[in-house]
Each structure stands twice: as C-alpha cells, then as structure tokens.
C-alpha cells in the first residue's frame, strides 16, 4: 500500500481526525518514516522493543502488523 493511501486509512483515529503527531510531522516537514515518528514520540529515546500497549498507541501506518484485519472503514466523524 502506498504511503498516501495508508495515510488516508489512518485518518480519523478515535478522538482525532488524524494522528496528531503525523500532522505535526507534516507541519514541520519531518519525513514521514516510522523511525522519525518513534524518535518524535519517544523524545529520541526509542525502546529497542515496543510492548503491546505501546504498539497499540501507534498509528496503524506504523504498526508492523499486516496480520490484523479491520472489517470497517474508518469513521469520518
């Protein structure tokens, strides 16, 4: 899946129209990579291995889990 498409899918996370840190990366021209995202949200101190709850907090585009299926489109509300 192309990154732009992934971004569309990742929009409108619960409580947000878009993951706020993705928006922040766009606002300040930070390249949209997983590593940059992790550096940003962990203040440069990224754990070597994320725990389950930490993974749950990642935007889907940066989760390494192509196995998880979602049976619904993302809400536009």
């Amino acid at each position: 899946m192309a990154l732009n498409e992934k971004l569309e899918v990742s929009k409108n996370q619960p409580g947000n129209n878009e993951d706020g840190f993705i928006s922040l990366m766009k606002k300040y021209d930070i390249p949209l990579t997983r590593q940059n995202y992790l550096d940003l949200v962990y203040n440069g101190d990224v754990p070597t291995e994320l725990e389950a709850e930490e993974i749950a907090a990642l935007p889907e585009m940066f989760q390494d889990n192509n196995e998880i299926e979602n049976d619904g489109q993302m809400s536009l509300v």
Binding site: N12, Q13, P14, G15, N16, G20, F21, S23, L24, Y28, D29, I30, P31, N36, D39, L40, V41, Y42, N43, G44, D45, E49, L50, E51, A52, E53, E54, I55, A56, A57, L58, Q63, D64, N65, E67, I68, E69, N70, D71, G72, Q73, M74, S75, L76, V77
Partner: protein, 690 residues
C-alpha cells in the same frame, strides 16, 4: 411536620417492637389490614422488619466490621448505646436494639422470634418498592449507626483503617451488591417506579433530612443508605461529600437519580448522572458501526465478542494453542465450547490467587481503585480540574506504567499544564530539547516552540513535547509508593537503594493526557482522547467511578498473567493477543502464530473481552466487584512473579514447561499449581505491606 418517619412510630410498631424485644408479646398484634396497606403502614412495617433484620445480623456484622477481639468489641458496644444521640428510626427502638444485642446474643436467631410476629413481617408489602426501601434503610441504619459510632471510638486510626471499617459496614449490612434494590430500580428503570412510590420515597427521605438536615449523622444515614444500596463500599468518600449534596433540591426537583450516585464533591455539587461520567469501554469507530459509543455505554464481554462470528472464531482459534488449554479440550470442540473452557480455566486461576491472598491483604488490595479515585479527587481539587479530567490524565498515562510512576507522571502533567503554563521556554529547556531532538529534521519543530510559553502553543502534540522537556529539565525524577487507599508512601527505591527515576511513556500518551486535562470533563472529548484500547478506557471508568455496577474491569499485562498464571510481560505473545496488537516480525516470540482480529465495527480488540468475562465470573463467585477481583489478583500475581522472576528466562521457561505438560495431559492442574508454588516460593507481600 408529620413525616413518614414519625408515622413509623405508630401502633403497629409499638406492638411489634414490644413483641420482638420481649419475645413473648404483651401487646396483641394487630393483623395486617385486609385492604391494601397505606404507604405509611408499609413504611412502618418495613422499618420494623429492617430493624429486626439489622439487629439479628448486627453482632456478626459488627465483629466483621471492626475485626477486633471480642473483649474490645464488647467494651466498644457498651459505649455504643450511649453514643446514639439521633435515633432516627426511633430512639427507644435503637437503644433497645443495642441492649438486646449486648444482653441477648443467644436469642438473636430467627427461630427465636415470635411466630406470629414473624408471620406478620414476612407478608409481602402492598407497596413493594416503598417497603423494600424502608426496610433497607432501617436495616442499614440499625447496624450502621452503632457501627458508625464505634468508628468514632477509633478516631485515632488512620484514614485507611477507617475506610476499611466503613467498607466493612457497607459489606456487612446485608446489602447484596447484586440485589436489585429500590434505588437500583430508580436508577435503572425510573419510569417503572410508580409515582406514588416515588413520592413516598422522596417524602420519607425529605422529611428525614428536613428534620435532621444539620445533623451529619442523619445525612450519613440517608447518604449511606442510598450509597450502600446503590454503589456499595465507598462510604468514607460518600460520607465526606454527604453534607455537600443538595438534598432538598435533589429530592424535590426530581433529581434523585443524579444525587444518589454522586461520588465526588464536584459531582455532588452538580448532580451529574452516572452516565455522564463513564465512557464506553468499547469504542467502535467505523462508518458502518451500528452503535454509538458516546451516546450509549458499550460494554466489552463474551456476548459482544460474538457479534462478529468470523472474528470470534479466529480469536478463539488463536487461544486454542495456548498451553492453558489441554489438547483434549480443543480437539473437535466448537468455538463456543473452547471459549467457555478457557474462560472457566482463567476464572479458576483467578480464584486460586484470590483465595491464596491473606484476608487482611485482600481487604486492602481490593481498594486500589477506591484509592485511585481518591487520588483523582485530590488532583481535581489541587489543580482545579474536573474529576473526569483528572481520571482521564491518569488513564491516558497508564500504558505500560507501574501505578506509582503513573501517578507521578499524571501529577507532573497536571502541575506543569496548570501552574507552569506561562513559563517561557528558556535556555535550559533549549539545551534539553536539543539533547532529545538533535537530528536536523526536528530543528523546525524546536524553533517553533523555542521561547514560547506552554499557553501559547497551538496543538496538544506541541504541548506534550514542551511538558516533557520542562519536566526533564527542572523536576526531580523520584516518585513515591502509593498505598491502596491512595496515600503517598516512601520514595520508590532501586535494588541499589537509591531513588528510582520516573520515566515518561510516549508523547502520544502525554498528548492524550493533555486533551483529557483540558476537556473540562467533556465526556466526548475524553472518550476520543482515550482511543480505542479497552484497557485504557476501562481503567478510566474504574478510576472515575470505582463502584459502578457496569462491571468494568482493567485487563493489563499483569491481569493476563493472573488469568493464565504465567509469568508474562508486556511483550509476550498472549499479552499482544489481549490488546489486539502484533509485534514487529523481528520481535515475535517463538510461540507467535498470528495476530488476533480486531473490528472497528463492533469495537472489539483482541481477546480482552474473554479475560473480562473470566474476571466477572470469578468476581461473582466471591461476591466482589470485577475491579476488586482484578486488583486483588493483580497484586497477587505481581507477588507470585515479581519482575526479577520474569527477567529470568530459565525461571519463565520452567513455568511454561509446567503448562505445556498440562496441555499434553502429563500434569494435572493441581500438579501445575504445586509446581508454580515450588518454582516461585509463593506469593510475596506487596510493596506497601513490606
């Protein structure tokens, strides 16, 4: 004023009381009227019945409540009668009751009651709801007032002990948490209560409070009667706010439901409904969802997990490979059967842990969420935010954080956002920012916040980064032990004996906390900020309203460990399955065979619902709330498998080996548990007990 409470001291009551206390009635009882009882008649009869029931149970209750040796108990009881100054249900009745308890313990059995009297009391009420409530209040009052007086004798006890005693009173005054009381009916089905009953109820309580409005004991009685029935063991907190409840307004304005469930100063003041406090633990976000998680409360349990058959089949298939299930238990079995087997297995594991915990420890560890609520209330007052906002901050910062650190991070966030918002990002912060974000791609971001006050930043993400940089620049990293009742203990120490350092979780969680903090308690905003993870949402509910009857239960890593009796950590396969997450391929463990399926239509993520079901069933078997079962077993499993144990691959493998032998029918469950006890040495005491 002629109140219903005055009316209860009528001729029936006099006759009944006399007959009861003398066992051989001197006054001829009057038969219940053939025609339908009037409301006052019902209240009179029900009050007496409640008093009788309360007295029958009082000695055991008081012993249970106070938990002191009999001689101390006796000495205390001798004083109790003298301490009763406001005998709301009839001074002589209560005084006689206390005397009766003291002097005639051997006669305090139902069989000793006069048969005629018993028959009279046992007839069903014509005004059923009024009768039930009157009986319950009288019953509660009979036990609670002397018990409360006894508590007064123990004023030198610490708040925790008093809290325990009040909790004991609530537990022991014969209010079954599962009973559908009148208050419960009023809350759950207000339209089903007749106007006559509702009016009578209001007038009865209104009269009581008008007569004794300035008497804290009376307010306690009314409040505790309601709270005791409606929410159970939060009496210490409830009593504190009792005086602040606008009773007259509540009772005359038709707002009884709101008033009866208020659990905080803020809530008592505004009379918010419980529905406005809790959020849905399940948060479906798909466009084609069929349920609204903001307008309605959406629970997460077995039934909800079955709403998508493919998802349910897949997820149960995932756990079919767990060593907690025998091969014979999953071979040629339906999905429903396997789910039931696993849930019951998990339930039994929880009951094992629950029963292993000494009663004294259990009585404390069940208070974790009461303590968490106290902390949220303290934060609410200290930082001038709503209880919901404070609870939201705590919940948002909870992922993978030890509770002690969680509380510390929450307070740091609250303090910085409320008290340091006009501090200008200075040279020290700049240095810290550069240390954290030294790569060139972050320069534009750092430049944007440089020299700014927190209050000048536009987005919660920028604020999160500012808050963390401020904290790491200026604040001490130490944090304190938290007791179950929500008080601060000593500093947490490392194995080397120095203060441990609080480490932040990700800025995503700080951002969510800031959104919750700035939400002014708005449920929709908090719900959005807390995302779609069942655990964080349930944790919020457990904090904001620990005595909710909704059965919210927080399933975190330790909760999964408790349900499986396995020393699993936050990166373990089954913990990922619980949350509905998947590790990176490089981080997948040897037992990883795939991820669970999530659904944005029904909002179910992973196997959380299965564990929640197990906790609820275990709780029901022990007569505690699911969140109490969770906090008791959570503490127990942390003592069974402390972090040092989990960090030893050899020790973890030894336990897993036991479970795989169980799966292959080489060991029985008892043999596995014996093996676990042998390998671990049993359950260590919690930190706060050491």
């Amino acid at each position: 004023m002629t109140s219903y409470l005055d009316e209860q001291l009528n001729e029936y009551e006099n006759a009944e009381v006399a007959s009861f206390f003398n066992l051989s009635p001197k006054v001829q009882l009057v038969d219940p009227p053939e025609k339908k009882e009037t409301i006052p008649e019902t209240i009179g009869r029900a009050s007496v019945k409640g008093v009788v029931k309360g007295m029958i149970e009082a000695p055991n209750n008081l012993a249970t409540i106070v938990g002191l040796p009999v001689d101390i108990m006796t000495a205390g009881l001798n004083k109790l009668g003298l301490d009763i100054q406001y005998p709301i249900m009839g001074s002589q009745m209560l005084q006689d009751g206390i005397n009766f308890i003291r002097d005639s313990a051997d006669q305090l059995v139902p069989s000793s009651l006069n048969k005629e009297f018993n028959d009279y009391l046992s007839k069903p009420y014509d005004n059923q709801l009024t009768g039930q409530l009157s009986e319950a209040i009288a019953q509660f009052g009979t036990t609670a007032i002397p018990a409360a007086s006894f508590v007064k004798l123990a004023t030198n006890t610490n708040p925790f002990t008093r809290s325990l005693i009040w909790g004991g009173i609530a537990d022991a005054t014969a209010f079954n948490a599962n009973d559908q009381t009148l208050v419960g009916q009023l809350i759950s089905n207000p339209e089903g209560v007749s106007e006559e009953d509702t009016n009578a109820f209001r007038e009865m309580l209104g009269s009581l409070l008008e007569k004794y409005e300035d008497d804290p004991e009376a307010v306690k009685l009314a409040k505790s009667s309601l709270e005791g029935m409606a929410i159970g063991g939060l009496l210490e907190t409830a009593f504190k706010v009792g005086r602040k409840i606008p009773w007259k307004k509540v009772l005359t304005g038709g707002g009884l439901i709101a008033g009866s469930v208020a659990t905080s100063d803020a809530e008592a003041g505004v009379g918010s409904k419980i529905a406005d406090i809790l959020i849905s633990p399940r948060n479906p976000q798909a466009v084609n969802r069929t349920e609204d998680p903001v307008k309605n409360y959406l629970s997460v349990g077995l039934a909800e997990s079955k709403t998508n058959k493919a998802q349910f089949d897949h997820n149960i298939g995932i756990l079919s490979d767990y060593p907690n299930l025998k091969v014979s238990e999953v071979t040629n079995k339906s999905t429903d059967e396997i789910a039931e087997t696993y849930i019951n297995h998990a339930k039994n594991n929880l009951l094992y842990l629950f029963d292993k915990v000494p009663t004294a420890t259990r009585n404390r560890s069940k208070l974790w969420y009461v303590g968490a609520n106290k902390i949220a209330q303290d934060f609410s007052k200290k930082y001038g935010v709503s209880l919901q906002s404070a609870s939201g901050v705590l919940a948002a910062l909870s992922p993978q954080k030890d509770w002690y650190m969680n509380v510390s991070l929450a307070e740091r966030t609250l303090d910085i956002v409320t008290n340091k918002k006009d501090f200008v990002y200075d040279a020290k912060m700049r240095a810290m920012g550069l240390e954290k974000f030294g790569k060139p791609q972050y320069k534009k971001l750092l430049d944007a916040i440089d020299g700014k006050k927190l209050s000048e930043l536009e987005t919660p993400e920028e604020k999160a980064i500012w808050v963390r940089i401020y904290d790491e620049t200026f604040n001490d990293r130490s944090f304190k032990v938290i007791t179950p009742e929500g008080n601060m203990g000593d500093f947490v120490l490392t194995d080397d004996g120095v203060n441990a350092r609080a480490a932040w979780n990700s800025n995503v969680m700080i951002k969510n906390a800031i959104i919750a903090l700035e939400s002014n308690g708005d449920k929709a905003i908090i719900s959005g900020a807390l995302g779609d993870a069942h655990k964080v949402r349930s944790f919020y509910n457990n904090i904001v309203d620990p005595n909710s009857k909704n059965g919210d239960v927080t399933i975190d890593t330790h909760a999964v460990a408790a349900a499986t009796l396995r020393p699993v950590g936050g990166k373990h396969t089954i913990v990922n399955h619980n949350f509905g997450t998947a590790p990176s391929v490089k981080d997948q463990k040897a037992d990883w065979k795939g991820a669970t399926k999530n659904s944005k239509v029904n909002g179910i993520k992973g196997l959380y619902s299965i564990y929640a079901e197990a906790y609820r069933r275990a709780a029901a078997e022990r007569g505690v709330l699911p969140r109490e079962m969770q906090s008791i077993t959570w503490e127990a499993v942390r003592g069974l498998y402390p972090s040092t144990f989990k960090q030893s691959p050899k020790k973890v493998e030894a336990i897993d080996s036991l479970w795989y032998k169980y799966r292959n029918n080489e060991l029985s469950l008892d043999e596995v548990i014996n093996g676990i006890e042998r390998e671990t040495g049993g359950i260590e005491k919690p930190t706060w007990e050491q």
